[in-house]
Subunit: 350 residues, 2 copies
């Protein structure tokens, strides 16, 4: 060891980030012992732990996640894989995930995907293996893809699936219980006195489409109502599909007096179609949506809708992934709830 080099190292210490070696030397222990402190090993004597922690604090030392990851054969990156086209959903989910990760030292890597793409699974595998992801959160509809879950299991990557209903064992699932939300919508419409009731679904590929419909029918059934086949339309969770379905529904001589659209985007389409046909909401037709993103209050009239606590769901999902989820938390916090605004009312007297 040339003196010049030692000299350089010393002068570097002031500006460069300290390493585990610096801490070990300053605390008068081996780097392995510092490593034990970093990793909260119980095999460190109390006073040496305190001494090391003091040096760590004083030097502002933070272990290098890259080096740690290389040795651990795993990174400190959590991926979120989504194919949901709704920006509000995506951002709200990200916020929730970041809430849960705050202060954990993990970082969030975003990875949109396309299940239709032939290379979808290959891409997912590449992403996970290349980055040696600590784990992955899957949101609908990728979360409903069994091949994706199967792949992650095979390559030994931790994952949590966010979906409307349980599709996996409990520690791999966060359920959004969309059936409950659909039921709320059904009850609300039935209680208002509607009998001519219509439903616009999402695409069949989304599990939520079926859950929201199933719940809706249950809610109606509680009041002795049923969803007639002629009033069950297939939409695509898009604004345009909401317009198209509502235009069809509302131009019929025997038109429904209430429409439950399986998301807010389609409900916005229903509002447009109604207005184009000269129908007033809610006087002539009641409109109920699902999601309660910002859009719901921007529309006119403000939309009655079902609120899913997406941000909370996101937080729970990462906490589960990191093995820090608090089981004491009240699971009621995650249930969808009805938010009544101005787009729903009693059926026309006519």
């Amino acid at each position: 060891m040339k003196p010049s080099k030692t000299q350089a190292q010393l002068s570097d210490e002031a500006r460069k980030r300290p390493t585990i070696n610096d801490i070990a030397r300053l605390a008068g222990v081996s780097k392995k012992t510092v490593s034990r402190v970093i990793n909260a090993s119980p095999y460190v004597r109390e006073d040496t732990r305190e001494r090391i922690e003091a040096v760590i604090a004083e030097m502002g030392y933070a272990p290098d996640p890259q080096a740690r990851g290389l040795a651990f054969r795993r990174s400190f990156l959590i991926g979120v894989v989504h194919d949901n086209p709704n920006p509000q959903y995506v951002v709200t989910m990200q916020q929730g995930l970041l809430d849960g990760m705050r202060g954990s030292g993990f970082e969030l890597v975003v990875h949109p995907c396309d299940r239709q793409n032939p290379s979808f699974l290959e891409d997912l595998r590449g992403f996970v293996e290349r980055q040696k992801l600590f784990g992955v959160v899957l949101t609908p509809s990728v979360s409903e893809d069994e091949r994706a879950a199967q792949l992650l299991r095979e390559i030994g990557c931790e994952y949590v699936r966010v979906a409307s209903v349980s599709l996996d064992d409990a520690n791999h699932m966060i359920e959004t219980r969309d059936r409950v939300g659909g039921r709320e919508a059904g009850r609300h419409i039935a209680e208002l006195g509607h009998t001519q009731v219509a439903f616009i679904s999402g695409p069949p590929m989304f599990r939520s489409s079926h859950e929201r419909r199933g719940g809706f029918e249950e809610g109606l059934a509680e009041k002795g109502l049923a969803l007639e086949a002629q009033f069950a339309m297939e939409g695509a969770y898009t604004f345009e599909s909401g317009i198209a379905a509502a235009r069809d529904l509302l131009s019929r001589p025997n038109r429904p007096t209430a429409i439950f659209a399986a998301n807010d985007e389609m409900a916005a389409g229903v509002l447009h179609a109604a207005r184009d046909l000269g129908l007033r909401v809610p006087e002539d037709v009641t409109v109920v949506g699902y999601d309660d993103f910002d859009l719901a209050t921007r529309l006119w009239p403000a939309l009655t809708t079902v609120r899913t606590p997406t941000r909370e769901i996101g937080r729970l999902a990462v906490e589960r992934l990191m093995g820090r989820d608090d089981e004491r938390r009240n699971p009621k916090d995650r249930l969808p709830t009805l938010v009544v605004r101005k787009s729903s009312g009693p059926p026309p007297k006519a």
Copy 2:
């Protein structure tokens, strides 16, 4: 080297990811030469390069970014730092960034922040240094924070700032030219024949607030119009602030016949306020927004607004960061453009 170990290594090769050592052995070269191929060094004989590339392809080898990063003292992660509350903006920007990163081997790490928070700079520093980020994209309004840019320069982190106007040297900037967009709005309103014209700004902290207003005034001036002080309101880029400003403006005996709101969220608020006051849009009052996110077409009437090519801007920003931006690209592609829909029309005849 015990035979059993060699045995294990061989059997592992089938399932485990190959390393640079495997490729070197199979190609009959040293790992350093493989490294040269990975890093596109010119100092490799053509035939040995081809041989190595063949082995890489055959084995499906991809270098470990963690190990590479550790040796490089730099990761293959690009961070996006934002404090924009609009989910549409955030997601659209992310899409653009991901567009530019596709196939590059980089991954996108999201990092929302709060400039008001006293630990903002410290947090940013921690994020960048801990992850040894390859670089960072800053969006408004963090992109306008000189302290943040200064910090990144100090710690030697590459960055690109997306902002309405140039605030740094050209290779650190992508300009959105909001002044041009404001001008379009001003021209449009003036050409429709309005003379009683109002403006609702964003918060003064956002540079775009001033640019959009400045451009608007320029557009009006071209037709000999001016923005009266009484008609210049301060908003906060929020729906609620749009409602409040418009309610004030539209309840005056001498109310404006056209309102340019500096973003779509506020324009949505103007629509609500107008309706609450029994005013029709555009018959009684013209409303023009800025952004052209999905919301603009969901509103009723569909909003006339200024479109910023945010996704394109995002792509350009990462390409610049990665040093891959194509200078031949037409800079016109990034200019804001007016999108005329249903919320603007001539002033009332009265």
